[in-house]
């Protein structure tokens, strides 16, 4: 096991800059998730750690050793690919044994290692099958088994769950997390799904446009997003972000809504953020007219208009109402996020 540190890593393809100086420090045994919209450079960064892409500038160190010029096979890492990259002409056993076979390990050692990994992942009965004969979840597990057999210092996952259906994704999510807790190997995990990031990570690194927007523990990102991008990206349903300005001790949103401010709110705020789950029903609150009511059972999501200002609310209570009905709501003042004109948190 080892820590990974990325210092001022830059990547460009010709004149196209993909990463603009990224710093991440990953502790020994930590589970770090790189998350961001597609094209933000997260997969490129992962491939740079793996050695599949060279590093244009800056350095990446694994276990204290700078690996910029170390070939992938000598970095002691294992990677799970989005499409699993299982060798189709080899059985599960051969797939898992491949790296050890190349390393010319004795046959009984290989068999023991394969059995150990197969047992961890429940693949014992599938060892003689070919990848074609496996379901998506099983293939995913074989890909992880191939990584486990190598007993690497760092696990890299490149959007491993995006080819699975929703239910399997939730199941594999907790399997991967459990695996990490069992093996305690430093893990870097790339995804575009912020729920995966929130549920699995010790540390989340939110990336956008080749830069890091914010990194920290999942709940820190949720509670105190550093800027508008993180505020809008982390959390589901997404935070309501209203633009407008502060006047007479209240926030006047562009659509006409007047939102109460917490005491001591900075007058320079131009964006008012409130998560849907932090709006509550309050008879003394603001009148909002209902557009759509979406009950999910555990909560009710209501799409609302205050004047021309659009808001989404998520309430524990079962809201009954129709289009055009009035709902009285008020924001939880402690949980209001204010952002300045530069998009930074105030």
């Amino acid at each position: 096991m080892a820590d990974v540190s990325i210092r001022q890593a830059r990547k460009s393809y010709g004149s196209t800059k993909v990463l603009h100086g990224v710093d991440v420090s990953i502790g020994d045994g930590e589970f770090v998730v790189l998350v961001g919209p597609s094209g933000c450079g997260k997969s490129t960064l992962l491939r740079m750690i793996a050695g599949l892409e060279n590093i244009t500038e800056g350095e990446i160190a694994i276990g204290g050793k700078v690996v910029n010029t170390v070939p992938p096979k000598d970095r002691d890492i294992a990677m799970v690919f989005q499409n699993y990259a299982l060798y189709p002409h080899m059985t599960v056993r051969e797939n898992m044994a491949f790296s050890m076979m190349l390393a010319k390990a004795p046959a009984d050692v290989i068999e023991a290692e394969v059995q150990r990994a197969a047992k961890i992942l429940g693949l014992d009965v599938l060892l003689d099958r070919y990848p074609r004969q496996l379901s998506g979840g099983q293939r995913q597990r074989v890909a992880m088994g191939r990584a486990i057999v190598r007993d690497p210092q760092v696990f890299l996952f490149d959007e491993p769950l995006s080819n699975l259906d929703a239910k399997l994704r939730v199941q594999m999510r907790s399997e991967i997390k459990e695996l990490h807790q069992r093996l305690k190997v430093t893990t870097v995990y790339v995804t575009h799904d912020q729920i995966e990031a929130m549920t699995m990570a010790d540390q989340i690194v939110v990336m956008n446009g080749g830069r890091i927007e914010q990194s920290g523990a999942p709940l820190d990102l949720y509670d105190t997003p550093a800027n508008l991008f993180v505020a809008g990206f982390i959390g589901s349903p997404a935070m309501n972000l209203l633009s407008g300005r502060v006047r007479d001790g209240a926030f006047h949103a562009d659509g006409g809504a007047v939102m109460p401010l917490p005491p001591g709110a900075p007058p320079t705020a131009t964006t008012y953020g409130i998560r849907p789950e932090h709006l509550r029903l309050d008879d003394a609150g603001i009148a909002a007219s209902i557009i759509v009511v979406e009950p999910t059972g555990s909560e009710t999501q209501v799409s609302l208009n205050i004047g021309e200002t659009h808001l989404l609310g998520a309430f524990r209570e079962r809201v009954m109402g129709r289009h055009g009905d009035t709902l009285m709501i008020s924001p939880d003042l402690d949980l209001v996020h204010l952002f300045g004109p530069d998009g930074r948190r105030l």
Binding site: A85, Y87, Y130, R146
Partner: protein, 319 residues
């Protein structure tokens, strides 16, 4: 509950389809009608000539004289004919060596072209040229290259580099002529192999190579354990075709040496033509052509077993 009111009935008589429409609705007829054009073409252009050829092989037909059935006499004669055995030997040798050469060079070229190269599409187009040029034209070009007096290779070796004092004798004696023809055939056959294998290479997912890279493989190991096994199905198809085309080759040999010198470069196809048409012995020529059939059946069986879908390509159970 029973119905108490009788609903108004629809009285319009159902229109009976016409005779023709009923005929075409009749499945056996439809199958026959759809197969007819294909069967007709195959019958006229494939089955009839093949059947006629096989029949001729058992007669003593010559040009201008209708033959009679003589059983295996043609074959018995051929079995004692050293020129026939020479053609059998050279056909097998020619096919074996040329196929080996085409595949070694073609695979190498395909692997090269599969890399990121500048002007890749232009290179690919150029590679195809030997295949696009009509065989007879390229044969004439090789004829010049192998000419005892005007050969460019001799010119380079003797006049430019000065490594020899006499011209090469490419086509004047048996073995040099045999090797020269094989070289020409390899040159002509490479594009087909290279382009087909390149298509096969491009179906291999790059992430497999990345996974193998992380698994610690050397370039040779990636070829040995990933590229080669995954290329095997297409390799088998291309090899079958290549063997069949090479074994039945005619144009190249006939245009460059006409089977000479002293019949040393006759393939079965050129010998069959020589005996049958210029020699007029249609029956004997046909017998030579028919004797190619066992070899071709062997090549097809090779493909049948070599191509048998491998287990890993199938989706079904493991048993």
């Amino acid at each position: 509950m029973s119905a108490t009111t009788v609903p108004a009935t629809w009285n319009k008589a159902r229109q009976q389809p016409g005779r023709l429409a009923r005929l075409f609705d009749y499945k056996p007829f439809l199958v026959f009608a759809c197969l007819l054009p294909a069967l007709g073409l195959l019958g006229v252009f494939l089955t009839y000539p093949l059947g006629l050829g096989i029949w001729l092989a058992f007669t003593d037909t010559t040009i201008g004289r209708r033959g009679v059935w003589i059983g295996f006499e043609n074959f018995e004669y051929l079995f004692t004919d050293p020129i026939f055995w020479n053609a059998v030997f050279y056909s097998v040798f020619y096919t074996g060596v040329a196929t080996l050469g085409k595949f070694a060079l073609g695979l190498w070229l395909a692997l090269l072209l599969n890399n990121h190269l500048p002007l890749k599409s232009l290179l690919r187009a150029i590679i195809l040229l030997p295949w696009i040029v009509p065989t007879v034209l390229s044969a004439i070009a090789f004829w010049w290259i192998y000419d005892p007096q005007f050969s460019i290779i001799s010119y380079l070796a003797v006049d430019v580099l000065g490594v020899r004092t006499t011209n090469f004798d490419f086509l004047g004696s048996a073995w040099p002529a045999r090797w020269s023809l094989i070289a020409a055939n390899i040159w002509r056959g490479i594009p087909f192999v290279a382009i087909s294998l390149l298509a096969g290479l491009q179906t291999i997912s790059p992430s497999l190579y990345e996974a193998a890279l992380l698994d610690g493989s050397t370039p040779w190991q990636r070829f040995r354990y990933i590229t080669f096994p995954m290329l095997m199905p297409i390799l088998a198809i291309v090899m079958t075709f290549s063997i069949i085309f090479t074994f039945t080759d005619f144009q190249l040999v006939y245009a460059i040496t006409r089977g000479g010198p002293v019949n040393s470069t006759h393939l079965l196809a050129t010998l069959a033509f020589q005996r049958g048409i210029p020699g007029g012995q249609l029956g004997e020529g046909a017998a030579i052509a028919v004797s190619m059939i066992p070899f071709l059946i062997f090549a097809t069986l090779f493909s049948y077993f070599g191509l048998a879908r491998r287990k890993w390509q199938q989706g079904e159970g493991n048993d």
